[in-house]
């Protein structure tokens, strides 16, 4: 597991300072003492690989004798029997030896540069990493900086084993980042994200500035996270931000400017190629082509791009307009600048930081961007010996601007509008319109003129931590209160646009008629009050830590939303000037509360045997009052084998620990707020209006069934792991195996539609999720070159052990939940290429009933009749009788991995990081694969590789409009979602400057997502979600140039 090198550095400095201080004391105290019976003690000091260490300080306790080792690691010193020798050396753990009867003491020192002394943030405290018994992965903020990603989550991808970062699109402010820890814990996917606490405050991790982060701890197993009880089922992420420093005021500036280059997107055809495909598709479907050879020549003629339509009040266009080029920029911009100032002294220190981030999207015109402002301040004050205070306050504002028409819809049109439609109308057009919207709405006009949607989210957090200690030795009381208040403001102003034919009498298309504004405003707050006692007690070789606390948390959101139509003009949007008849308004209040008691007990014998037990007792407002409390316990233990005396013979092993844990977690966030109550919905809050007697009319209905018997979904998780550090801790390996069993699984039962209403969530079934994680790190020096190599891989699988026993795979596609299978399994037909001749197709049809299509011909996909019943069908639609459907994998990657190499040489640092996934299947939506399924949806360059007699081994079948018979879910179209990606590559140079003024001055260039290898269809990113379509906002590659300045 990764450890913050920052911590190490600080520890080290701290240690050195303490050491010198104590040495001073020792010298002072011992100077007066006389020594007796001195003898010569000698030996060599090596590192754990046997390499001699030079200039190791050797001190004899209670004397002023001391010395250092020579270049062979040899020392000799005068000491009496029973004296204590202390060996210390920069970068290594000090070691003491008692002088015995002999005169030779050979010593090997272990390096501190690795993980041994690291401290890891855990729930309600910290622990030394060596003493951890749970599965906790930690990464330092330093490893996440200097990457041109929108937020912390983006930087986390692939870094930690067992932590899968998913992302949905390249849309600014809606990148769709999600973190899944150790696969699925629940089937309620919308609420499956981990609990994220930023300095103890529940916050959206996707809004954090990476340079604010000191460290991130991921509590993966139950023993680590059970102390968060009912909300920890999907794992817990503890983000610690930077705090004040002591000494000279420190100023850090981190700044980069980057370009984003759109990656993997569809490309448009020239209008004549497009027309060729249209005509083929049309001919195959209807027996006639749309364009004559002459008309296709017109398309190719750059001097002839339109004429008056001879029969209609329209122009007829013969241009060649690449909508994609007109409406999208391939290169866009991103920047992030942050500044932090910290300083103070031991008793009072502070840190303030602020940052600005902005990213522009792909649309060439109009709004399509996201900007973010982060501000944070904290003050730590030690009022006296007993009382200290920590005050933290923060502000995050995220501002997203989007076209009112919806970016995805614009992208869809840019991808699929017909290329022969020109961007502008002919010069002689008299309608006054500039843009041509004859065959399709004009996406570029929409970009420029359809109006804007703004989404402003601002969050204010404040936390006060009040700590009492030293009243009783070893006892600390923390009382913490925090509040996270946020405001959300959405305003959508949709302007009416019309496109005419040759005169304004002919409206070809229009959007946003009448013009509309809609507003959503809400205010939400989350309050938390908690207090806990920590008691440390040590007696001889026994150390105990006890923690006992309680917490109360409440949430309330108040929302008001309103819409108005028909503004008095197209540029002035306010409800006050909208049509009174069509105004709507609604309000919404959402609340929840949770109260908890929690505790933890740690026992440590000689640093060898570790035991831990923790619990949380939670009560949630989301459950029926008679059954809303539950206990979530956990137990774990560890054995540090490397601390056993018998291990002294295995010098190359610095650290060896085995650990095991079991615990129970709850999942209350998956519950709706008031699921146990039958609620009715008002038709006036719906967009489905009822008109009676000439006006909008109320109707009241039950849209979802109540679940009166709903109870906690619980996850029982076991974990066994091993931590190994060898060869001077240069090689560190962590391996874990875990198993999670979710019982009382919250799910909507899969009911026949005769139920007539959406079933509510009920406790149904059992999910098993299991896997292994392996993390491997090597770190060493070669001369002046420091380098490190890391590799991690996670394997996760799941299976629904029990569900509602109704098993349906339907007619293929992705099946979310089915007993006996993993979640989101893909089912489809087997295929065997294309029919190469009509005769072959006819013969096959005579043998096998072909349900999707009346007349298969040459160039159509040949689906296989696997069960030999003479027809292609899904049988009974169940896995026991799937007809000709077969299992084609799942949409969740089984393996995810990351691989990194880094080196530091003189002032240069270089790192490269690969990340990827293996064993994932997903489908592309039928209407996207099949060109002209809707006749307005044009094919792409990839479709040129379609079946024709001359191209029998094509990728796509023959063109056929308005029928998707060739694109049924099948092995042919199932995408192999495996990929490897160059996630990040960085080259930095620390400019040698006067250390008096600069602590660091570094420039770097950083590339993100620059390369990948995958078998996924070239127009989509391998990370896209299942059933991706032409509305997908493309992903991008980034190159950033940045500077880090520390003063």
């Amino acid at each position: 597991m990764r450890v913050s090198t920052n911590f190490n550095v600080r520890k080290f400095y701290c240690g050195k300072w303490l050491l010198s201080f104590s040495l001073l004391l020792i010298f002072q105290c011992t100077s007066s003492l006389l020594s007796a019976q001195l003898k010569k003690v000698e030996g060599t000091v090596t590192d754990s690989t046997g390499k001699p260490l030079e200039r190791v300080s050797v001190i004899v306790s209670n004397s002023k004798n001391g010395g250092t080792t020579n270049n062979k690691g040899y020392y000799s010193i005068m000491a009496e029997q029973g004296a204590v020798l202390t060996f210390s050396f920069t970068g290594y753990n000090s070691k003491t030896e008692v002088v015995g009867s002999g005169t030779v003491i050979n010593i090997w020192l272990t390096s501190t540069s690795q993980t041994i002394d690291a401290v890891v943030v855990v729930g309600y405290g910290t622990q030394r990493k060596v003493n951890l018994t749970g599965a906790v992965a930690q990464v330092s903020g330093k490893e996440l900086t200097n990457r041109p990603v929108p937020n912390v989550t983006g930087a986390l991808q692939g870094v930690l084993p067992g932590v899968t970062v998913l992302r949905g699109s390249g849309k600014p402010g809606a990148e769709g980042y999600g973190i899944r820890i150790r696969g699925f814990s629940t089937t309620v996917t919308s609420n499956a994200s981990a609990l994220v606490l930023v300095d103890g405050i529940e916050q959206d991790i996707n809004l954090l500035d990476p340079s604010d982060v000191e460290s991130i701890s991921v509590l993966k197993d139950a023993s680590a996270s059970a102390i968060y009880g009912a909300r920890a089922a999907a794992g817990v992420i503890l983000v610690t931000t930077k705090e004040g420093s002591t000494g000279k005021t420190r100023i850090s500036i981190n700044s980069y400017y980057g370009i984003n280059i759109t990656a993997r997107q569809p490309e448009r055809l020239d209008s004549w190629d497009e027309q060729t495909l249209i005509d083929e598709a049309r001919f195959n479907a209807t027996g006639a082509r749309e364009f004559s050879a002459e008309q296709i020549e017109w398309l190719k003629n750059p001097n002839f791009s339109y004429r008056p339509n001879p029969t209609a009040d329209r122009w007829e266009y013969y241009g060649n307009n690449n909508w994609l080029k007109e409406g999208m920029d391939k290169i866009n911009h991103q920047q992030n600048h942050s500044l932090s100032i910290s300083g103070g002294e031991q008793k009072l220190n502070y840190l303030i930081s602020g940052s600005y981030y902005k990213r522009d999207g792909v649309l060439r015109y109009g709004p399509d961007d996201n900007s973010r402002y982060n501000f944070k301040a904290n003050v730590n004050a030690e009022l006296n010996k007993f009382i200290s205070l920590k005050f933290t306050t923060g502000y995050i504002g995220s501002f997203t601007r989007e076209n009112s028409y919806g970016t995805e819809q614009i992208i869809n049109r840019l991808y699929r509008s017909r290329t022969r439609q020109s961007l502008y109308v002919p010069a002689e057009d008299v309608t006054g319109q500039k843009f041509n919207g004859d065959l399709q709405v004009n996406a570029v006009d929409i970009e420029q003129n359809a109006g804007m949607e703004t989404r402003d989210y601002e969050t204010f957090t404040t936390k006060l931590n009040f700590q009492i200690k030293n009243v009783i030795k070893g006892l600390t009381l923390d009382v913490i209160g925090w509040r996270n208040q946020n405001n959300y403001n959405m305003e959508n102003n949709s302007r009416t646009l019309f496109w005419y034919g040759r005169s304004v009498n002919t409206v070809r298309f229009s959007i946003n008629t009448p013009n509309t504004m809609s507003l959503i405003k809400n205010k939400a707050y989350q309050n938390n009050l908690q207090g806990y006692l920590t008691y440390n007690y040590k007696i001889k070789n026994h150390s105990f830590t006890m923690l006992q606390g309680g917490s109360y948390e409440e949430y309330r959101k108040d929302e008001v939303a309103a819409t108005g139509q028909s503004m008095i003009n197209n540029d002035f949007f306010t409800l006050n000037f909208s049509d009174p008849l069509t105004k709507t308004s609604r309000d919404l209040v959402q609340t929840w509360a949770i109260a908890s008691a929690f505790g933890r007990f740690n026992y440590n014998f000689k640093g060898r045997y570790l035991l831990e037990a923790s619990y949380r007792y939670d009560g949630s407002s989301r459950l029926v009052p008679t059954d809303r409390w539950r206990l979530f316990p956990s137990f774990s233990s560890g054995w540090r084998i490397s601390e056993e005396p018998f291990m002294d013979n295995f010098r190359f092993i610095d650290n060896l620990k085995v650990r095991g844990s079991w615990g129970k977690l709850g999942n209350s966030d998956a519950l709706g707020l008031y699921d146990y109550l039958p609620l009715l919905a008002s038709g006036l809050t719906s967009t489905n209006n009822l008109v009676l007697n000439g006006s909008r009319t109320q109707y009241i209905y039950q849209s979802i069934m109540a679940s009166p018997d709903l109870t906690w979904e619980t996850v029982g998780q076991s974990n066994i792991g091993i931590d190994l550090g060898v060869l001077g801790n240069r090689l560190n390996i962590t391996a874990d195996y875990y198993q999670k069993i979710t019982t009382d699984l919250l799910s909507r039962p899969n009911l026949p539609n005769i139920i007539g209403v959406t079933p509510g969530f009920i406790n149904l079934g059992k999910l098993k999720s299991w896997g292994t994680e392996l993390d491997f790190k090597w770190k060493d020096k070669m001369g002046k070159l420091d380098y490190h190599v890391g590799f991690n891989i996670s394997d996760n699988q799941n299976k629904l052990l029990a569900y509602d026993r109704r098993r349906s795979i339907g007619t293929g596609g992705v099946v979310g939940l089915m007993e006996g299978y993993a979640m989101n399994s893909v089912w489809g037909y087997k295929t065997d290429g294309f029919f190469q001749t009509d005769a072959e197709a006819t013969a096959y049809k005579a043998k096998v009933a072909y349900p999707f299509f009346a007349n298969p011909k040459a160039g159509d996909v040949k689906y296989l009749d696997l069960n030999g019943d003479g027809k292609i069908d899904p049988g009974a639609g169940t896995p026991d009788n799937p007809g000709d459907l077969v299992y084609l994998g799942t949409t969740n990657a089984r393996y995810t991995y990351g691989f990194n190499i880094g080196a530091l040489w003189k002032g240069f640092d270089f790192s490269v990081f690969f990340q990827g996934a293996l064993k994932r299947s997903f489908l592309i939506s039928e209407e996207t694969l099949s060109p002209m399924l809707g006749t307005a949806d044009m094919p792409w360059t990839i479709h040129m590789d379609r079946w024709t007699p001359e191209n029998p081994n094509a990728f796509f079948p023959r063109m056929y409009q308005t029928s998707a018979h060739n694109y049924r879910p099948s092995d042919r179209w199932t995408q192999n979602g495996s990929y490897i990606r160059l996630k990040n590559i960085q080259l930095g140079y620390s400019i040698p400057v006067n250390k008096k003024y600069f602590r660091e001055l570094k420039v770097y260039v950083s590339g993100q997502d620059l390369w990948e290898s995958t078998k996924v269809l070239s127009v989509f990113d391998p990370e896209v979600s299942n059933n991706i379509g032409a509305t997908a906002y493309p992903f991008y590659r980034s190159v950033a140039f940045g500077i880090n300045i520390s003063l």
């Binding site: 006639a288 006892l475 509360a593 039958p678 609620l679 008109v691 109707y699 109704r806």
Partner: protein
Amino acid sequence: MKKFKQLSIYIFIGGLLLTGCKIDRLPETEITDPNFWNTETDLMNAANRLYQQLPGDWIDNRAEDAVNTAPNVVSTGTRSAPNTSGDWSDRYSEIFTANNILEKGLNAKVSDVVRNRYFAEARFFRAYSYFKLLKIYGDVPLLLKTLLVNSPELTMARTPRAQVVQQIYDDLDFAALWLPTRAALTAAQFGRVTKSAAWALKARVGLYEGTRGKFHGTVANWQSHLNIAVAAATSVMAEGHVLFSNYGNLFTQAGEGPTNTENILVKIYGVSNANLLLGHNHSRNLENGQLAPTRNLLRQYLYSDGLPAFNVDGTTASATRSPLFVPEANETSYNTILDNRDPRVSFSYFRAGEVAYQGPWIPKTSLGIRTAIAPKKGFSTVDQAITNAATTDRMLIRYAEILLIYAEAKYELNGAISDADLNITVNALRTRVGFAPKLTNAFVTANNLDMREEIRRERSAELGMEGFRYDDLIRWKVAETVLPKELLGAKFITAEWVGTMQSSLNLNADKILIVEPASTRTFRIDRDYLYPVPINEISLSGGNVIQNPNW
């Protein structure tokens, strides 16, 4: 010990901090079910959901009378069993609403008269939904109550058709008993169902079950259904409904509202395209070819002398052909086939040169109208102005249909129909559009016509493009002969088809547009008379729901 005393003080303080924290949270902006269902207003608001769920059912391309921009898989016989289908699930969602009202409404503190009024609405719509299910699936699970997630009924088998039909009749009888009459319904309540609606639906069900039973030979007592149809239609005919004077305007804004008593069941849209609350896109859909009438439909209309040229199948020549009929090879203009026809032709189709969607109609397929025959019936320029902002109400049951039900049921019951009955039904419709030749027994005999054919023909002429054709083909058991035939469109006349190249069209020897060749169309008699039950319903029923034959 002292230490532990102090420790317990800390714990006590900590405990104090957490006491008094209540975790009860109740919804503040939603109403809970137990707090509802008290007053008449509650009942009405609950019943209003039935009207909101009522589909407009605008476009039906399942038969041979009209095509969409792409072939319809029902019409071509190329569908496969779907996993889920709105045809099934939407209906049960509507049935849930009705059953829920019927259960919870019992709690309301209102008089029986008030309660039964809204129960009657619920039962009307329950019957309406079950009839739709019945028509396409045959046997369906008959649910008369709401279910819980563990109700055993969830895996119930399909209820026999006869039992479902009987329930529909019972529901409609209850509805007819408690609903207000058309005359008693205030203008402000227009849109709510009346006795007329209940009887009208009952007549429709009776005719469907009667004729289906008769022609498929599956129901022994099919006459009883036809008797129900006659009786129910007679009841409607006593309610004072009047045919709207202008057939063309009937399908536009002019035909809306309570003053047009031809309206029996209407899905209300509104208020206007400027103040849009609920809109549709029908006029633009007509313009863009989503309901493009075929020549097969056009052939069925009579000529102005009252004589036909084709049978009601739209493809075979009638025994007697009107002298006004022009063989297709000889048609000289797009308009030839529209000349000298039943006046309803001129209300239903644009002529070449007539001002249509965007100026004068010029035959073409490039707008998306695959038949190149431009539908006029139901087209409104007001509705066309703005996409998805059309507000003409959709008539789901109109009085003309009741008259046709009466005529057909009478004829099928007895194999004969009196001139008097023809006069109050078929001939009333002809009079309304100023179509002089009347259908009489004498006329039929004199011209060697078939009375059944002529009554059925009247349905096509009167109700064409209103979504009746598919059901008619199924109940008459003629689908296997009608649906596999090729679908034809307008005639290609170079001079008139300005801007269209012949090479872009698929024409037959007579230069008639072949919209869908017979080779792409099938109807399996052993399978296609019923829809496939969605596979989801079968696989989730534990095998109790059985698929329809040969699907």
